[in-house]
Amino acid sequence: MNSPLDRKEIDFLDPNISHFVWALGADIDTDALAPGHAMKFGMDVIARHCLESVLPNFATDVKAGDVIIAGSNFGIGSSREQAAAVLVMHGITAVIAPSYNGLFFRNAFNVGLLLLTCPIIVERPHTNVRLDIHDAKQPLVITEQGETLACEAIPEFLLERVKHGGLLNELRHQLSRDQHEQNNA
Protein backbone atom coordinates (compact mmCIF):
# COMPACT_ATOMS: atom_id res chain seq x y z
CA MET A 1 0.00 0.00 0.00
CA ASN A 2 1.16 3.53 -0.73
CA SER A 3 1.21 6.27 1.84
CA PRO A 4 -1.31 8.95 0.87
CA LEU A 5 1.34 11.56 1.54
CA ASP A 6 4.33 10.17 -0.33
CA ARG A 7 2.90 8.83 -3.56
CA LYS A 8 5.48 9.35 -6.27
CA GLU A 9 4.20 7.19 -9.11
CA ILE A 10 1.77 9.19 -11.19
CA ASP A 11 0.57 6.63 -13.68
CA PHE A 12 -2.62 8.37 -14.78
CA LEU A 13 -0.65 10.56 -17.17
CA ASP A 14 0.36 7.61 -19.38
CA PRO A 15 -2.45 6.78 -21.85
CA ASN A 16 -0.77 3.48 -22.73
CA ILE A 17 -1.27 1.91 -19.32
CA SER A 18 -4.26 -0.39 -19.04
CA HIS A 19 -6.04 -0.20 -15.67
CA PHE A 20 -8.00 -3.05 -14.15
CA VAL A 21 -11.59 -1.96 -13.30
CA TRP A 22 -13.43 -2.50 -10.00
CA ALA A 23 -17.14 -1.96 -10.70
CA LEU A 24 -19.45 -0.49 -8.06
CA GLY A 25 -23.09 0.58 -8.00
CA ALA A 26 -24.64 3.98 -7.26
CA ASP A 27 -24.73 5.84 -3.90
CA ILE A 28 -21.51 4.35 -2.46
CA ASP A 29 -21.29 6.13 0.90
CA THR A 30 -18.37 7.15 3.10
CA ASP A 31 -19.27 4.38 5.57
CA ALA A 32 -18.70 1.78 2.85
CA LEU A 33 -15.31 3.33 2.00
CA ALA A 34 -14.16 4.05 5.58
CA PRO A 35 -16.43 2.06 7.93
CA GLY A 36 -17.39 3.84 11.16
CA HIS A 37 -16.24 0.95 13.35
CA ALA A 38 -12.69 1.30 11.98
CA MET A 39 -12.52 5.09 12.25
CA LYS A 40 -10.84 5.26 15.65
CA PHE A 41 -7.95 3.14 14.35
CA GLY A 42 -5.21 4.12 11.91
CA MET A 43 -5.42 4.25 8.12
CA ASP A 44 -3.99 0.72 7.80
CA VAL A 45 -7.01 -0.72 9.66
CA ILE A 46 -9.47 1.45 7.74
CA ALA A 47 -7.82 0.21 4.50
CA ARG A 48 -8.39 -3.44 5.49
CA HIS A 49 -12.13 -2.76 5.85
CA CYS A 50 -12.48 -0.54 2.77
CA LEU A 51 -15.61 -1.48 0.75
CA GLU A 52 -16.07 -4.73 2.76
CA SER A 53 -19.86 -4.30 2.75
CA VAL A 54 -20.11 -4.13 -1.06
CA LEU A 55 -16.95 -5.79 -2.48
CA PRO A 56 -15.57 -8.19 0.15
CA ASN A 57 -12.43 -9.10 -1.87
CA PHE A 58 -11.51 -5.51 -2.76
CA ALA A 59 -9.18 -4.79 0.17
CA THR A 60 -7.19 -8.01 -0.34
CA ASP A 61 -7.12 -8.17 -4.15
CA VAL A 62 -6.82 -4.52 -5.22
CA LYS A 63 -3.52 -3.57 -6.88
CA ALA A 64 -1.82 -0.24 -7.38
CA GLY A 65 -2.90 1.19 -10.73
CA ASP A 66 -6.45 -0.20 -10.61
CA VAL A 67 -9.41 2.11 -11.15
CA ILE A 68 -12.95 2.18 -9.76
CA ILE A 69 -15.95 2.71 -12.01
CA ALA A 70 -19.07 3.52 -9.99
CA GLY A 71 -22.61 4.76 -10.38
CA SER A 72 -23.87 8.24 -9.51
CA ASN A 73 -23.52 10.04 -6.14
CA PHE A 74 -20.20 8.41 -5.26
CA GLY A 75 -19.02 9.41 -1.75
CA ILE A 76 -22.30 10.51 -0.14
CA GLY A 77 -22.41 10.80 3.67
CA SER A 78 -20.00 12.34 6.13
CA SER A 79 -17.14 14.81 5.67
CA ARG A 80 -14.49 12.24 6.69
CA GLU A 81 -11.69 12.54 4.15
CA GLN A 82 -10.34 9.11 5.09
CA ALA A 83 -13.00 7.82 2.65
CA ALA A 84 -10.91 9.23 -0.21
CA ALA A 85 -7.46 8.79 1.39
CA VAL A 86 -8.06 5.05 1.80
CA LEU A 87 -8.37 4.64 -2.00
CA VAL A 88 -5.07 6.51 -2.45
CA MET A 89 -3.50 4.12 0.07
CA HIS A 90 -4.68 1.19 -2.01
CA GLY A 91 -3.04 2.77 -5.07
CA ILE A 92 -6.28 3.45 -6.94
CA THR A 93 -5.33 5.58 -9.96
CA ALA A 94 -8.74 7.18 -10.46
CA VAL A 95 -12.43 6.89 -9.73
CA ILE A 96 -14.72 7.26 -12.75
CA ALA A 97 -18.41 7.98 -12.07
CA PRO A 98 -21.27 10.07 -13.47
CA SER A 99 -21.45 12.23 -10.28
CA TYR A 100 -19.96 12.70 -6.82
CA ASN A 101 -21.01 14.08 -3.46
CA GLY A 102 -19.72 17.68 -3.29
CA LEU A 103 -17.76 17.35 -0.06
CA PHE A 104 -16.21 14.06 -1.19
CA PHE A 105 -15.20 15.70 -4.49
CA ARG A 106 -13.24 18.39 -2.63
CA ASN A 107 -11.70 15.93 -0.16
CA ALA A 108 -10.60 13.54 -2.93
CA PHE A 109 -8.44 16.11 -4.76
CA ASN A 110 -7.13 17.41 -1.42
CA VAL A 111 -5.77 13.96 -0.53
CA GLY A 112 -4.49 13.32 -4.07
CA LEU A 113 -7.23 11.15 -5.58
CA LEU A 114 -8.16 11.78 -9.22
CA LEU A 115 -11.91 11.81 -9.93
CA LEU A 116 -13.20 11.68 -13.50
CA THR A 117 -16.80 12.69 -14.11
CA CYS A 118 -18.09 10.65 -17.06
CA PRO A 119 -21.86 10.78 -17.62
CA ILE A 120 -22.00 7.64 -19.82
CA ILE A 121 -19.42 5.44 -18.06
CA VAL A 122 -22.01 3.08 -16.57
CA GLU A 123 -23.96 2.45 -19.77
CA ARG A 124 -22.12 -0.86 -20.14
CA PRO A 125 -19.55 -2.81 -18.10
CA HIS A 126 -15.80 -2.44 -18.54
CA THR A 127 -12.98 -4.73 -17.41
CA ASN A 128 -9.96 -2.60 -18.36
CA VAL A 129 -9.65 1.05 -19.36
CA ARG A 130 -6.91 3.50 -20.30
CA LEU A 131 -6.94 7.19 -19.34
CA ASP A 132 -5.90 10.21 -21.38
CA ILE A 133 -5.93 13.39 -19.36
CA HIS A 134 -3.30 15.41 -21.18
CA ASP A 135 -6.00 17.96 -21.88
CA ALA A 136 -7.58 18.78 -18.52
CA LYS A 137 -10.43 20.44 -20.38
CA GLN A 138 -11.31 17.19 -22.14
CA PRO A 139 -10.17 14.11 -20.19
CA LEU A 140 -10.87 10.81 -21.88
CA VAL A 141 -11.54 7.24 -20.81
CA ILE A 142 -10.47 4.75 -23.49
CA THR A 143 -12.33 1.44 -23.38
CA GLU A 144 -10.92 -2.00 -24.15
CA GLN A 145 -12.51 -1.67 -27.63
CA GLY A 146 -10.61 1.57 -28.25
CA GLU A 147 -13.71 3.73 -27.91
CA THR A 148 -13.15 7.13 -26.24
CA LEU A 149 -15.59 8.40 -23.61
CA ALA A 150 -15.50 12.13 -22.85
CA CYS A 151 -15.31 13.29 -19.22
CA GLU A 152 -16.11 16.68 -17.76
CA ALA A 153 -13.24 19.18 -17.62
CA ILE A 154 -11.05 19.09 -14.50
CA PRO A 155 -10.04 22.52 -13.18
CA GLU A 156 -6.30 22.89 -13.87
CA PHE A 157 -5.44 23.65 -10.25
CA LEU A 158 -7.15 20.46 -9.05
CA LEU A 159 -5.22 18.36 -11.57
CA GLU A 160 -2.03 20.04 -10.34
CA ARG A 161 -3.06 19.18 -6.79
CA VAL A 162 -3.41 15.48 -7.65
CA LYS A 163 -0.03 15.55 -9.44
CA HIS A 164 1.49 16.89 -6.21
CA GLY A 165 -0.12 14.00 -4.32
CA GLY A 166 -2.59 16.26 -2.51
CA LEU A 167 -2.90 19.67 -0.86
CA LEU A 168 -0.41 18.98 1.96
CA ASN A 169 2.39 18.27 -0.54
CA GLU A 170 1.30 21.18 -2.70
CA LEU A 171 1.52 23.55 0.27
CA ARG A 172 4.91 22.13 1.23
CA HIS A 173 6.15 22.73 -2.30
CA GLN A 174 4.66 26.23 -2.32
CA LEU A 175 6.17 27.17 1.06
CA SER A 176 9.64 25.96 0.12
CA ARG A 177 9.43 27.89 -3.17
CA ASP A 178 8.36 31.04 -1.29
CA GLN A 179 11.29 30.49 1.09
CA HIS A 180 13.66 30.06 -1.84
CA GLU A 181 12.41 33.28 -3.46
CA GLN A 182 12.81 35.17 -0.19
CA ASN A 183 16.36 33.91 0.20
CA ASN A 184 17.21 35.05 -3.32
CA ALA A 185 15.56 38.42 -2.93
Binding site: I76, S79, R80, N101, L103, N107, F157, L167, L171, L175
Partner: protein
Protein backbone atom coordinates in the same frame (compact mmCIF):
# COMPACT_ATOMS: atom_id res chain seq x y z
CA UNK B 1 1.09 33.21 -1.36
CA UNK B 2 -1.70 31.72 -3.40
CA UNK B 3 -1.59 28.10 -4.53
CA UNK B 4 -4.58 28.63 -6.81
CA UNK B 5 -5.13 29.67 -10.37
CA UNK B 6 -7.02 32.93 -10.34
CA UNK B 7 -10.10 33.41 -12.46
CA UNK B 8 -9.83 35.83 -15.35
CA UNK B 9 -12.10 38.64 -14.23
CA UNK B 10 -11.73 40.94 -17.24
CA UNK B 11 -15.42 40.62 -18.17
CA UNK B 12 -16.47 41.45 -14.70
CA UNK B 13 -17.04 45.10 -15.05
CA UNK B 14 -19.71 44.77 -17.72
CA UNK B 15 -21.48 42.03 -15.73
CA UNK B 16 -21.70 44.09 -12.56
CA UNK B 17 -25.20 45.34 -13.35
CA UNK B 18 -26.64 41.85 -13.89
CA UNK B 19 -29.17 40.65 -11.30
CA UNK B 20 -27.60 38.27 -8.79
CA UNK B 21 -28.65 35.73 -6.19
CA UNK B 22 -27.69 36.15 -2.55
CA UNK B 23 -25.15 33.32 -2.99
CA UNK B 24 -23.54 35.08 -5.98
CA UNK B 25 -23.31 38.38 -4.06
CA UNK B 26 -21.71 36.75 -1.02
CA UNK B 27 -19.14 34.97 -3.20
CA UNK B 28 -18.42 38.03 -5.36
CA UNK B 29 -17.61 40.11 -2.28
CA UNK B 30 -15.29 37.46 -0.80
CA UNK B 31 -13.59 36.81 -4.14
CA UNK B 32 -13.23 40.58 -4.66
CA UNK B 33 -14.94 40.46 -8.05
CA UNK B 34 -17.93 42.39 -9.39
CA UNK B 35 -19.93 39.42 -10.56
CA UNK B 36 -19.74 35.71 -9.71
CA UNK B 37 -20.89 33.73 -12.77
CA UNK B 38 -22.65 30.46 -11.97
CA UNK B 39 -20.27 27.58 -12.72
CA UNK B 40 -17.05 29.65 -12.50
CA UNK B 41 -14.38 28.61 -10.05
CA UNK B 42 -13.27 31.48 -7.85
CA UNK B 43 -10.97 31.92 -4.86
CA UNK B 44 -12.46 33.56 -1.79
CA UNK B 45 -10.97 35.18 1.30
CA UNK B 46 -12.16 33.36 4.42
CA UNK B 47 -13.67 35.61 7.09
CA UNK B 48 -14.09 32.89 9.71
CA UNK B 49 -12.81 29.32 10.11
CA UNK B 50 -14.45 27.18 12.77
CA UNK B 51 -13.41 23.70 13.88
CA UNK B 52 -13.90 21.42 16.88
CA UNK B 53 -11.92 18.97 19.00
CA UNK B 54 -12.53 16.11 16.56
CA UNK B 55 -11.87 17.75 13.18
CA UNK B 56 -9.46 20.47 14.39
CA UNK B 57 -6.25 20.43 16.43
CA UNK B 58 -5.67 16.67 16.42
CA UNK B 59 -5.51 16.74 12.61
CA UNK B 60 -4.28 20.31 11.97
CA UNK B 61 -1.47 20.55 14.53
CA UNK B 62 0.71 17.74 13.08
CA UNK B 63 0.13 18.92 9.51
CA UNK B 64 0.96 22.56 10.33
CA UNK B 65 4.09 21.45 12.18
CA UNK B 66 5.22 19.23 9.31
CA UNK B 67 4.93 22.27 7.01
CA UNK B 68 6.52 24.64 9.52
CA UNK B 69 3.57 26.93 8.73
CA UNK B 70 1.61 29.38 10.90
CA UNK B 71 -2.09 30.21 11.14
CA UNK B 72 -2.81 33.02 8.69
CA UNK B 73 -4.97 35.03 11.13
CA UNK B 74 -5.80 33.75 14.61
CA UNK B 75 -8.53 36.37 15.11
CA UNK B 76 -10.52 34.64 12.36
CA UNK B 77 -10.32 31.19 13.94
CA UNK B 78 -12.86 29.77 16.42
CA UNK B 79 -12.19 26.49 18.25
CA UNK B 80 -15.01 24.67 20.06
CA UNK B 81 -14.62 21.60 22.27
CA UNK B 82 -17.95 19.79 21.86
CA UNK B 83 -17.55 16.32 20.32
CA UNK B 84 -15.51 14.43 22.93
CA UNK B 85 -16.54 16.42 26.05
CA UNK B 86 -17.21 15.54 28.78
CA UNK B 87 -14.43 13.00 28.26
CA UNK B 88 -15.82 9.46 28.38
CA UNK B 89 -12.52 7.57 28.30
CA UNK B 90 -8.75 7.96 27.85
CA UNK B 91 -8.99 8.14 24.06
CA UNK B 92 -11.38 11.11 24.39
CA UNK B 93 -9.17 12.68 27.06
CA UNK B 94 -6.16 12.55 24.72
CA UNK B 95 -8.07 14.19 21.88
CA UNK B 96 -9.48 17.00 24.05
CA UNK B 97 -6.09 17.55 25.70
CA UNK B 98 -4.46 18.10 22.29
CA UNK B 99 -7.10 20.77 21.58
CA UNK B 100 -6.65 22.50 24.95
CA UNK B 101 -2.84 22.46 24.81
CA UNK B 102 -2.79 23.71 21.24
CA UNK B 103 -5.27 26.52 22.03
CA UNK B 104 -2.94 27.73 24.81
CA UNK B 105 0.24 27.30 22.82
CA UNK B 106 -1.24 29.21 19.85
CA UNK B 107 -2.92 31.78 22.13
CA UNK B 108 -6.15 31.45 20.16
CA UNK B 109 -8.45 34.34 21.08
CA UNK B 110 -11.75 32.51 20.35
CA UNK B 111 -12.05 29.22 22.23
CA UNK B 112 -15.25 27.71 23.67
CA UNK B 113 -14.48 24.68 25.81
CA UNK B 114 -17.46 22.57 26.95
CA UNK B 115 -19.84 25.50 26.36
CA UNK B 116 -22.10 23.61 23.97
CA UNK B 117 -22.26 22.59 20.31
CA UNK B 118 -20.20 24.62 17.81
CA UNK B 119 -23.09 25.36 15.40
CA UNK B 120 -25.00 27.01 18.26
CA UNK B 121 -22.21 28.43 20.46
CA UNK B 122 -20.39 30.24 17.63
CA UNK B 123 -23.45 32.21 16.39
CA UNK B 124 -24.60 32.79 19.98
CA UNK B 125 -21.38 34.72 20.53
CA UNK B 126 -21.95 36.81 17.41
CA UNK B 127 -19.07 35.42 15.36
CA UNK B 128 -21.10 34.89 12.18
CA UNK B 129 -22.35 38.11 10.56
CA UNK B 130 -24.30 38.80 7.35
CA UNK B 131 -22.04 39.06 4.31
CA UNK B 132 -19.28 36.83 5.67
CA UNK B 133 -17.71 33.82 3.98
CA UNK B 134 -17.09 31.10 6.58
CA UNK B 135 -15.87 27.51 6.62
CA UNK B 136 -16.38 24.88 9.30
CA UNK B 137 -14.70 21.56 9.96
CA UNK B 138 -18.04 19.81 10.28
CA UNK B 139 -20.77 18.79 7.85
CA UNK B 140 -23.47 20.80 9.67
CA UNK B 141 -21.60 24.06 9.05
CA UNK B 142 -24.36 25.33 6.68
CA UNK B 143 -26.09 26.43 9.93
CA UNK B 144 -24.24 29.76 9.49
CA UNK B 145 -26.37 30.44 6.39
CA UNK B 146 -29.22 31.43 8.72
CA UNK B 147 -27.31 34.67 9.35
CA UNK B 148 -26.86 35.54 5.68
CA UNK B 149 -23.28 34.23 5.65
CA UNK B 150 -21.93 31.83 3.00
CA UNK B 151 -20.88 29.02 5.37
CA UNK B 152 -20.10 25.43 4.46
CA UNK B 153 -18.29 22.33 5.74
CA UNK B 154 -14.85 21.15 4.62
CA UNK B 155 -12.49 18.26 5.42
CA UNK B 156 -9.39 18.56 7.61
CA UNK B 157 -6.80 18.79 4.82
CA UNK B 158 -8.80 21.57 3.19
CA UNK B 159 -8.97 23.30 6.59
CA UNK B 160 -5.17 23.08 6.67
CA UNK B 161 -5.15 24.97 3.36
CA UNK B 162 -7.37 27.67 4.91
CA UNK B 163 -5.15 27.87 8.01
CA UNK B 164 -2.06 28.48 5.85
CA UNK B 165 -3.48 30.69 3.08
CA UNK B 166 -6.70 32.21 4.47
CA UNK B 167 -8.34 31.32 1.17
CA UNK B 168 -10.69 28.71 -0.28
CA UNK B 169 -11.88 27.85 -3.79
CA UNK B 170 -15.54 27.63 -4.74
CA UNK B 171 -17.57 26.75 -7.79
CA UNK B 172 -20.23 29.47 -7.94
CA UNK B 173 -23.43 27.48 -7.33
CA UNK B 174 -26.86 27.60 -8.90
CA UNK B 175 -29.51 28.78 -6.44
CA UNK B 176 -32.50 26.61 -5.56
CA UNK B 177 -35.14 28.65 -3.77
CA UNK B 178 -37.41 26.94 -1.26
CA UNK B 179 -40.27 29.42 -1.06
CA UNK B 180 -42.62 28.93 1.92
CA UNK B 181 -45.79 30.95 2.33
CA UNK B 182 -48.32 31.22 5.13
CA UNK B 183 -48.17 30.60 8.86
CA UNK B 184 -47.21 27.24 10.39
CA UNK B 185 -50.02 25.77 12.45
CA UNK B 186 -49.69 25.10 16.16
CA UNK B 187 -47.32 22.18 16.96
CA UNK B 188 -45.58 22.40 13.57
CA UNK B 189 -42.11 23.95 13.20
CA UNK B 190 -38.91 24.32 11.15
CA UNK B 191 -37.87 20.71 11.79
CA UNK B 192 -41.10 19.51 10.12
CA UNK B 193 -40.40 21.78 7.13
CA UNK B 194 -36.96 20.23 6.70
CA UNK B 195 -38.13 16.64 7.07
CA UNK B 196 -40.83 17.36 4.48
CA UNK B 197 -38.31 18.85 2.00
CA UNK B 198 -35.70 16.10 2.54
CA UNK B 199 -38.41 13.47 2.09
CA UNK B 200 -39.52 15.16 -1.13
CA UNK B 201 -36.14 15.94 -2.73
CA UNK B 202 -33.94 13.24 -1.18
CA UNK B 203 -30.55 13.55 0.48
CA UNK B 204 -28.85 14.70 -2.74
CA UNK B 205 -31.73 17.01 -3.75
CA UNK B 206 -29.52 20.03 -3.13
CA UNK B 207 -26.88 18.76 -5.64
CA UNK B 208 -24.21 20.69 -3.69
CA UNK B 209 -25.71 23.94 -4.99
CA UNK B 210 -26.97 26.86 -2.86
CA UNK B 211 -30.39 26.54 -1.27
CA UNK B 212 -32.10 29.76 -0.24
CA UNK B 213 -35.12 29.71 2.07
CA UNK B 214 -37.56 32.53 1.25
CA UNK B 215 -41.16 33.61 1.75
CA UNK B 216 -43.45 34.92 4.48
CA UNK B 217 -43.08 31.75 6.57
CA UNK B 218 -39.32 32.22 6.77
CA UNK B 219 -39.37 35.95 7.55
CA UNK B 220 -41.74 35.33 10.47
CA UNK B 221 -39.41 32.69 12.01
CA UNK B 222 -37.01 33.55 14.84
CA UNK B 223 -33.28 32.91 14.52
CA UNK B 224 -33.33 29.53 16.28
CA UNK B 225 -35.88 28.15 13.82
CA UNK B 226 -33.99 29.63 10.87
CA UNK B 227 -30.84 27.91 12.18
CA UNK B 228 -32.69 24.56 12.15
CA UNK B 229 -33.51 25.06 8.45
CA UNK B 230 -29.95 25.98 7.48
CA UNK B 231 -28.51 23.22 9.70
CA UNK B 232 -30.41 20.44 7.95
CA UNK B 233 -29.47 21.79 4.50
CA UNK B 234 -26.65 19.30 5.03
CA UNK B 235 -29.21 16.49 4.85
CA UNK B 236 -30.65 18.08 1.69
CA UNK B 237 -27.21 17.77 0.10
CA UNK B 238 -26.65 21.46 -0.66
CA UNK B 239 -23.36 23.29 -0.06
CA UNK B 240 -25.12 26.08 1.83
CA UNK B 241 -28.61 26.87 3.17
CA UNK B 242 -28.99 30.64 3.01
CA UNK B 243 -31.56 33.00 4.51
CA UNK B 244 -31.40 36.69 3.59
CA UNK B 245 -30.67 38.75 6.71
CA UNK B 246 -33.34 41.14 8.02
CA UNK B 247 -34.11 43.11 11.19
CA UNK B 248 -34.66 39.85 13.11
CA UNK B 249 -31.09 38.83 12.23
CA UNK B 250 -29.57 42.20 13.12
CA UNK B 251 -31.40 42.53 16.46
CA UNK B 252 -30.51 38.98 17.52
CA UNK B 253 -26.82 39.51 16.71
CA UNK B 254 -26.77 42.95 18.35
CA UNK B 255 -28.05 41.36 21.58
CA UNK B 256 -25.39 38.66 21.54
CA UNK B 257 -22.53 41.04 20.74
CA UNK B 258 -23.65 43.52 23.40
CA UNK B 259 -23.64 40.73 25.98
CA UNK B 260 -20.12 39.72 24.92
CA UNK B 261 -18.93 43.32 25.03
CA UNK B 262 -20.40 43.82 28.53
CA UNK B 263 -18.55 40.74 29.78
CA UNK B 264 -15.25 41.69 28.12
CA UNK B 265 -15.18 45.49 27.68
CA UNK B 266 -11.56 45.41 26.47
CA UNK B 267 -12.12 42.81 23.75
CA UNK B 268 -11.28 44.66 20.54
CA UNK B 269 -12.60 41.78 18.40
CA UNK B 270 -16.12 42.30 19.79
CA UNK B 271 -15.92 46.02 19.11
CA UNK B 272 -14.86 45.32 15.54
CA UNK B 273 -17.80 42.92 15.10
CA UNK B 274 -20.26 45.49 16.48
CA UNK B 275 -18.96 48.05 13.98
CA UNK B 276 -19.14 45.50 11.16
CA UNK B 277 -22.75 44.65 12.07
CA UNK B 278 -23.68 48.34 12.02
CA UNK B 279 -22.35 48.60 8.46
CA UNK B 280 -24.43 45.65 7.13
CA UNK B 281 -26.47 46.77 4.13
CA UNK B 282 -29.67 44.70 4.34
CA UNK B 283 -30.94 45.95 0.98
CA UNK B 284 -27.86 44.48 -0.73
CA UNK B 285 -27.95 41.00 0.84
CA UNK B 286 -31.08 39.84 -1.02
CA UNK B 287 -31.56 37.85 -4.19
CA UNK B 288 -32.40 40.30 -7.00
CA UNK B 289 -35.80 39.98 -8.70
CA UNK B 290 -34.56 38.60 -12.02
CA UNK B 291 -31.56 36.65 -10.76
CA UNK B 292 -31.11 33.10 -12.08
CA UNK B 293 -32.67 30.55 -9.73
CA UNK B 294 -35.11 27.64 -9.72
CA UNK B 295 -37.94 27.82 -7.22
CA UNK B 296 -40.09 25.33 -5.35
CA UNK B 297 -43.11 26.66 -3.47
CA UNK B 298 -44.67 25.25 -0.30
CA UNK B 299 -47.82 26.02 1.68
CA UNK B 300 -46.88 26.20 5.36
CA UNK B 301 -50.53 26.20 6.48
CA UNK B 302 -50.97 22.67 5.07
CA UNK B 303 -47.85 21.19 6.74
CA UNK B 304 -48.39 18.47 9.35
CA UNK B 305 -45.81 17.19 11.88
CA UNK B 306 -43.29 14.93 10.10
CA UNK B 307 -41.32 11.89 11.30
CA UNK B 308 -38.36 10.25 9.48
CA UNK B 309 -38.19 6.48 9.97
CA UNK B 310 -34.95 4.44 10.15
CA UNK B 311 -32.40 4.70 8.57
CA UNK B 312 -32.57 7.93 6.55
CA UNK B 313 -33.77 11.51 7.08
CA UNK B 314 -35.31 11.18 3.60
CA UNK B 315 -37.59 8.38 4.84
CA UNK B 316 -40.06 10.91 6.21
CA UNK B 317 -43.84 10.67 6.52
CA UNK B 318 -46.67 12.53 8.22
CA UNK B 319 -46.85 11.64 11.94
CA UNK B 320 -50.36 10.16 11.56
CA UNK B 321 -48.94 7.41 9.30
CA UNK B 322 -47.10 5.90 12.28
CA UNK B 323 -49.74 3.73 13.87
CA UNK B 324 -48.79 3.63 17.56
CA UNK B 325 -45.14 2.77 16.81
CA UNK B 326 -43.65 2.14 20.28
CA UNK B 327 -40.57 4.03 21.54
CA UNK B 328 -38.27 3.47 24.53
CA UNK B 329 -36.26 6.68 24.49
CA UNK B 330 -37.21 10.26 23.67
CA UNK B 331 -34.04 12.27 22.97
CA UNK B 332 -34.05 16.06 22.86
CA UNK B 333 -30.56 17.10 21.86
CA UNK B 334 -28.14 18.36 19.17
CA UNK B 335 -27.51 21.59 17.32
CA UNK B 336 -30.58 20.74 15.24
CA UNK B 337 -33.09 20.26 18.04
CA UNK B 338 -32.07 21.41 21.56
CA UNK B 339 -31.75 25.18 21.39
CA UNK B 340 -33.70 27.18 23.99
CA UNK B 341 -36.67 27.52 21.61
CA UNK B 342 -36.71 23.73 21.10
CA UNK B 343 -36.75 23.19 24.88
CA UNK B 344 -39.61 25.70 25.19
CA UNK B 345 -41.54 23.80 22.48
CA UNK B 346 -41.06 20.48 24.30
CA UNK B 347 -42.04 22.08 27.62
CA UNK B 348 -45.30 23.39 26.12
CA UNK B 349 -46.35 19.75 25.59
CA UNK B 350 -44.86 18.29 28.79
CA UNK B 351 -46.07 20.95 31.23
CA UNK B 352 -47.94 19.36 34.14
CA UNK B 353 -47.40 15.80 32.83
CA UNK B 354 -44.98 13.03 33.60
CA UNK B 355 -43.59 10.48 31.11
CA UNK B 356 -44.50 6.85 31.93
CA UNK B 357 -42.01 4.60 33.75
CA UNK B 358 -41.05 2.63 30.62
CA UNK B 359 -40.02 5.74 28.64
CA UNK B 360 -36.69 7.46 29.12
CA UNK B 361 -36.70 11.19 28.36
CA UNK B 362 -33.20 12.58 27.78
CA UNK B 363 -32.45 16.29 27.31
CA UNK B 364 -29.03 17.57 26.21
CA UNK B 365 -29.40 21.36 25.73
CA UNK B 366 -27.42 22.69 22.73
CA UNK B 367 -25.45 25.20 24.81
CA UNK B 368 -24.67 26.02 28.43
CA UNK B 369 -26.25 29.43 27.87
CA UNK B 370 -29.48 27.84 26.54
CA UNK B 371 -29.56 25.61 29.63
CA UNK B 372 -29.12 28.64 31.90
CA UNK B 373 -31.93 30.51 30.13
CA UNK B 374 -34.15 27.41 30.36
CA UNK B 375 -33.55 27.42 34.11
CA UNK B 376 -34.30 31.16 34.39
CA UNK B 377 -37.55 30.76 32.44
CA UNK B 378 -38.74 27.76 34.48
CA UNK B 379 -38.54 25.59 31.36
CA UNK B 380 -35.91 23.31 32.89
CA UNK B 381 -38.21 22.72 35.90
CA UNK B 382 -41.11 21.73 33.65
CA UNK B 383 -38.89 19.23 31.81
CA UNK B 384 -37.44 17.90 35.08
CA UNK B 385 -40.90 17.46 36.61
CA UNK B 386 -41.93 15.56 33.49
CA UNK B 387 -39.13 13.09 34.27
CA UNK B 388 -36.37 14.40 32.00
CA UNK B 389 -32.79 13.36 32.63
CA UNK B 390 -30.44 16.25 31.78
CA UNK B 391 -27.22 15.52 29.92
CA UNK B 392 -24.21 17.81 29.32
CA UNK B 393 -24.44 20.47 26.60
CA UNK B 394 -22.35 18.71 23.96
CA UNK B 395 -22.76 16.62 20.79
CA UNK B 396 -23.37 13.59 23.01
CA UNK B 397 -25.34 10.69 21.59
CA UNK B 398 -26.12 12.54 18.33
CA UNK B 399 -22.58 11.98 17.05
CA UNK B 400 -22.38 8.55 18.71
CA UNK B 401 -18.79 9.33 19.80
CA UNK B 402 -18.52 8.96 23.55
CA UNK B 403 -21.97 9.05 25.13
CA UNK B 404 -23.96 6.57 23.09
CA UNK B 405 -27.39 4.99 23.29
CA UNK B 406 -26.84 1.25 23.69
CA UNK B 407 -28.56 -1.81 22.27
CA UNK B 408 -31.89 -2.39 20.56
CA UNK B 409 -33.52 0.88 21.72
CA UNK B 410 -36.34 2.46 19.73
CA UNK B 411 -35.52 6.17 19.84
CA UNK B 412 -37.45 9.25 18.76
CA UNK B 413 -35.03 12.13 18.50
CA UNK B 414 -34.77 15.84 17.64
CA UNK B 415 -31.36 15.24 16.00
CA UNK B 416 -30.54 15.51 12.27
CA UNK B 417 -29.43 12.02 11.22
CA UNK B 418 -30.75 8.52 11.76
CA UNK B 419 -28.24 6.51 9.73
CA UNK B 420 -27.74 2.97 10.93
CA UNK B 421 -25.47 3.05 13.98
CA UNK B 422 -25.49 6.86 14.18
CA UNK B 423 -26.20 6.99 17.93
CA UNK B 424 -23.71 4.24 18.71
CA UNK B 425 -25.57 0.96 18.12
CA UNK B 426 -26.41 -0.56 14.72
CA UNK B 427 -29.30 -2.36 16.44
CA UNK B 428 -31.19 0.78 17.47
CA UNK B 429 -34.10 2.21 15.50
CA UNK B 430 -33.96 6.01 15.32
CA UNK B 431 -36.93 8.16 14.32
CA UNK B 432 -36.38 11.88 13.68
CA UNK B 433 -38.98 14.47 14.63
CA UNK B 434 -39.56 17.97 16.03
CA UNK B 435 -39.28 18.76 19.76
CA UNK B 436 -43.12 18.94 19.88
CA UNK B 437 -43.50 15.44 18.42
CA UNK B 438 -40.69 13.97 20.53
CA UNK B 439 -42.30 15.40 23.70
CA UNK B 440 -45.78 14.15 22.74
CA UNK B 441 -44.36 10.68 21.99
CA UNK B 442 -42.49 10.64 25.32
CA UNK B 443 -45.83 11.09 27.13
CA UNK B 444 -47.58 8.19 25.38
CA UNK B 445 -44.69 5.78 24.73
CA UNK B 446 -45.48 5.61 21.01
CA UNK B 447 -45.03 8.00 18.08
CA UNK B 448 -47.72 10.61 18.69
CA UNK B 449 -49.18 13.67 17.02
CA UNK B 450 -48.35 16.74 19.16
CA UNK B 451 -51.54 18.42 17.93
CA UNK B 452 -53.52 15.79 19.88
CA UNK B 453 -51.56 16.56 23.04
CA UNK B 454 -52.26 20.27 22.59
CA UNK B 455 -56.02 19.87 22.45
Amino acid sequence: MTPYTMLDTSDNFTQAHLPQTLAQKLIAQSAKIQYASVGDIVVCDVDLAMFHDSSGPRRLKPMLESLGAKIWNKDRVVLVMDHFVPEADDDARKIVRIARDWAKEQRLPNVYDSQGICHVVVPQHGHILPGMLCVGGDSHSPTGGAFGAYMFGIGSTEMLGVMVTGKIWLKVPETIRMHWQGALTSGVCAKDMMLAMIGHFGMNGGRYQAIEFTGSTITSLGMAERMTLSNMSAELGSQVGLIAPDDTTINWLQDRLTQRATKNPKDTLVQASIEQLARVNLAHWQTDAHAPYTEHTFDATALAPMVAAPHSPANSHVVTEYDRTPIDIAYIGACTGAKLEDLVAAASILKGHRVPQHVKLMVAPASVSDMQKAKDLGVADILQNAGAEFLPSACGACAGYGHTIPGHARVISTTARNFKGRMGSTDSQIYLASPYTVAASALTGFISDPREAMR
